[in-house]
């Protein structure tokens, strides 16, 4: 089936044109990898937080300040890896991360500039870096989510450590690859020592937990009743409720906050750090200011069901205020010994 030569020529010509088209289109985004200058009214933000959750907020920022935000969305872990790979050549001005651990990993490589005291002082000491390299902007509590039909409130565990009891065999949903689970395990090590953490993981594993890829899936399954309880962050209930067109109250899945300063009630943050080369950039500074202003803090409470970290802003509906939670006495700065935690989680067999 020989193809006429003319047709093939046309195809080659088309391929050539396409290549030129590529160059033409490519040139439009040439500045994509360009770091940009301080005060040019453009900032590049690497966001490990989901676009659906933060884009409305970033749009508002652009509207109010006239500063264009170029946002790169990916998972927090991937962006941390990307930043570490880019080093001081990174085009990013700020890293908006899902958890303190990732911010700590980037800070450890000395890539962040210290933030202005005015920003830091708005946030309690426990929710920001001691050296001022990153600051928490919203808080999330670890909780036990439970299906109200499957577990009567009287039977809810007083401590997260009770979940290794045979009575919970096959009934606990966990997402061991999730960063918030890792922070929680580190918190056990900080509060009770490595042996207790090791024993807890071994007990959990022996209890045949329902392992899920992420917290969303756990809350969904608990709401459906296929898993009775699960270890998650509190705000996922809000997300699932939103998808179902209801409020968290309308779900079968409920929240249980562990009492008495139990490690299971750890509060972690999502936060932001500013890359060194943007230390003096007024636009980036405006961005950090914006995230900590009352309006943004309210956005987190109302739209993402997270706790505001700045004093005086109401907690999200349906959960006790942060100050009423009996949280464990843990400074997030002490959670930066991830390596040992990871070794424990790997050795436990909960992850491949």
């Amino acid at each position: 089936m020989p193809v006429p030569a003319r047709r093939s020529l046309a195809a080659v010509a088309a391929a050539g044109l396409l290549s030129f088209g590529l160059v033409a289109c490519g040139s439009g985004e040439d500045d994509a990898g360009d770091p940009g200058k301080a005060g040019d009214k453009i900032i590049t933000v690497y966001s490990g937080r989901n676009e659906n959750l933060v884009k409305p907020l970033l749009d508002k920022f652009s509207q109010q300040t006239g500063i264009t935000v170029k946002t790169r969305y990916a998972t927090t872990a991937q962006l941390a890896a990307q930043l570490l790979e880019e080093g001081d050549k990174s085009p990013a001005d700020a890293f908006f991360a899902q958890d303190a651990g990732a911010l700590g990993a980037v800070a450890k490589r000395d890539m962040f500039a210290p933030l202005p005291a005015a920003d830091l002082e708005k946030v309690p000491q426990a929710y920001r870096a001691r050296n001022g390299q990153w600051v928490g902007v919203s808080a999330r509590a670890r909780v036990l989510t439970y299906n109200a039909d499957a577990v009567p409130t009287a039977e809810l565990p007083k401590s997260v450590f009770e979940l290794t009891d045979p009575k919970w065999k096959g009934k606990v949903g966990v997402a061991p690859t999730n960063a918030s689970f890792q922070a929680f395990v580190t918190a056990i090590r900080v509060q009770h020592g490595d042996q207790k953490a090791k024993d807890f993981l071994a007990g959990l594993k022996a209890n045949e937990p329902q392992i899920r890829d992420n917290n969303v899936k756990i809350v969904e399954d608990v709401d459906k009743g296929t898993i009775p309880v699960g270890l998650v962050n509190h705000y996922y209930l809000g997300e699932i409720a939103k998808e179902k067109g209801t409020t968290p109250d309308g779900l079968k899945a409920k929240l249980h906050f562990f009492p008495g300063g139990d490690t299971g009630a750890l509060v972690n943050v999502a936060g932001v750090g500013v890359l060194k080369r943007s230390a003096e950039d007024p636009d980036t500074r405006a961005f950090v200011d914006f995230l900590l202003n009352p309006e943004s803090q309210k956005h987190f409470a109302e739209q993402t069901f997270e706790y505001p970290v700045v004093a005086g802003i109401a907690a999200p509906a349906g959960v006790p205020p942060l100050t009423d939670l009996d949280t464990p006495d843990i400074d997030l700065n002490d959670l930066d010994t991830l390596d040992a935690t990871i070794t424990l989680i790997k050795d436990s067999g909960l992850v491949p």
């Binding site: 990898g33 659906n52 969904e220 990871i342």
Partner: protein
């Protein structure tokens, strides 16, 4: 009729024009092709350079601690086991379906030919997600094997169906006339005729399984790729992830060596001339009903389950995708990036495919195999390696569509090389030799003879790369220009906050757009042609 290759006279005169001495010419046939092929392979090996650099930084002690563990052994065994199971299942399913639609009088065979290719348009993360939403507590090795088989058997079906349709029926007729029955003719003659096509498809499936992250992470089958992703998530541990990736490369080398060793030297079954003549179709009789039922069952599992699950998600959720313009922009970006990736990949694949077909030998084999090496690496590793490449070497390209297109090229080069080499091998080299002997220069021959003859292969390769690029997620997330959303990234954004209803239209659009090149691939294989006689 099969015609033997007239590789006398003209070919011997060829070398003189290059002005290369005879011995060098034997060592390095076709210098221009060789240089271009080497360049193409060098691009495909960028990720391996990155791996070597970063792993070496970790130091011997760290590497040893990561490597010599029971866990790595288990992961390797499980990854290879999964690859073996899925490949075997895909060969059975792919060859069986191909035989049914090309060689029997099965009712509705053209319709089934399209259905059998369509799963290629379904990303494994969509299929796996559909399955876990449909069946409770589905997890582990066997469910992952099921989903991967259903998603990747078209890699075997398409080339085998084309081979079955193109094979010369004369050999089978001779076999029957010599007293072999239908079954023995099938096993002794037909299966051998389609062996190169089957092996090529099987290799792609095996490598696909090694590299897949969608099905194994959602269904929690603990393979290397999942361990690599988990290593990134667990404490942002690049070193651990990259050491594991090196093992994956070693496994790939094993697979490639195995496949190369089982290749029969000089096995070439292409029809070299004469009029095309279709094989006789086997009358299935009553057997047509179980055959039909089997094809329907496979289609229901591979396409019906995802379709129903997506529809249910759309109906039960209240989230909705962004404005129509947002969806259209994402679709446009997906199209554009995949097209750019396909174009760049074909540019690299063309010399390599031609070299493999026209100057077979140890050099061509090594180059061809090297092009496969990065194919089994997970997208996140390819992504990081091109970040490294972009930041240190090609800064102006960093975070532009170009670098992402380059990532697609390193990931999918083997898909394209195979198609080009297949088409070139089917075109008799005699034509090029005649053209050269009549005084045309090498470029003119390439333009007027070789390219037109391999054009169907180029098209098929481009279609395959295009639709695989549409589905790619991890490398796209890391390398896309800041602010550029594609259908795959929008899907990821929506599903990670549980907004499944918003995700469904993106998924449907992704599958629909990918279905077009798939349909074209089926049509190109001649599977939609009216009865030949």
């Amino acid at each position: 009729m099969t015609v033997t290759t007239p590789d006398a006279g003209p070919a011997r005169n060829g070398p003189a024009r290059f002005g290369v001495p005879g011995r060098l010419r034997r060592l390095a046939p076709r210098p221009a092709l060789l240089v271009a092929s080497t360049a193409a392979v060098a691009v495909a090996l960028v990720p391996l350079v990155y791996l070597a650099v970063r792993t070496a930084e970790a130091g011997a002690e760290r590497i040893g601690a990561e490597l010599w563990t029971e866990r790595v052994g288990l992961l390797a065994a499980r990854s290879l086991g999964l690859a073996a199971v899925v490949t075997a299942a895909c060969v059975v399913l792919g060859v069986g379906t191909a035989w049914l639609v090309t060689r029997t009088d099965l009712p509705g065979r053209r319709f089934f030919a399209v259905l059998a290719a369509l799963p290629l348009a379904v990303p494994t993360y969509i299929a796996a997600f559909a399955w876990v939403s449909t069946v409770d507590r589905l997890e582990g090795f066997w469910p992952a094997a099921l989903v991967l088989t259903l998603c990747s058997y078209p890699y075997v079906f398409l080339p085998v169906a084309a081979a079955l349709r193109g094979a010369d029926p004369a050999q089978e007729e001779v076999s029957r006339s010599l007293g072999r029955g239908d079954w023995r003719t099938f096993t002794d003659v037909t299966l051998r005729q389609i062996r190169p096509a089957t092996a090529a498809g099987a290799l792609l499936v095996a490598l696909y399984v090694l590299a897949d992250f969608g099905a194994v992470s959602i269904l929690r089958a603990d393979t290397f790729t999942r361990a690599i992703f988990v290593a990134f998530d667990l404490g942002f541990d690049r070193t651990g992830a990259l050491v594991l990736s090196c093992v994956l490369v070693a496994l790939t080398v094993l697979l490639l060596a195995g496949e190369t060793a089982t290749r029969r030297r000089g096995a070439r079954y292409a029809r070299l001339g004469g009029a095309r003549r279709p094989a006789n179709r086997l009358r299935l009789g009553a057997a047509r009903w179980p055959a039909l039922a089997a094809l329907v069952a496979v289609a229901v599992l591979a396409l019906g389950v995802p379709a129903v699950s997506l529809a249910r998600r759309l109906v039960s959720g209240v989230s909705r995708p962004g404005a129509l313009t947002e969806v259209a922009t994402a679709a446009g970006n997906s199209l554009w990036l995949s097209l750019a990736g396909a174009a760049l990949t074909m540019l690299l694949a063309l010399p390599l495919g031609l070299l493999t077909a026209r100057a077979p030998g140890p050099v061509a084999t090594v180059l061809d195999r090297l092009a496969y090496l990065a194919h089994a690496l997970p997208g996140v590793v390819i992504g990081l390696s091109l970040i490294f490449f972009g930041i240190t070497v090609a800064r102006p390209l960093y975070q532009t569509s170009w670098l992402l297109a380059l990532a697609y090229a390193t990931l999918f080069l083997p898909l394209a090389v195979g198609s080009v080499a297949g088409a070139a091998a089917q075109a008799p080299p005699g034509l090029e030799e005649v053209a050269r002997s009549l005084g045309r220069g090498p470029l003119a021959v390439l333009r007027t003879v070789t390219l037109p003859l391999t054009l169907p292969g180029i098209g098929a390769g481009a279609a395959l790369v295009f639709l695989t690029g549409m589905k790619e997620l991890p490398a796209t997330l890391l390398l896309r220009p800041t602010g550029t959303d594609t259908l795959a990234t929008e899907l990821w954004t929506a599903t990670s906050v549980g907004a499944y209803a918003a995700a469904a239209p993106y998924a449907a659009l992704l599958v629909a757009i990918s279905a077009l090149p798939t349909w074209w691939l089926v049509a190109r294989g001649g599977l939609l042609d009216k009865e030949d006689r």
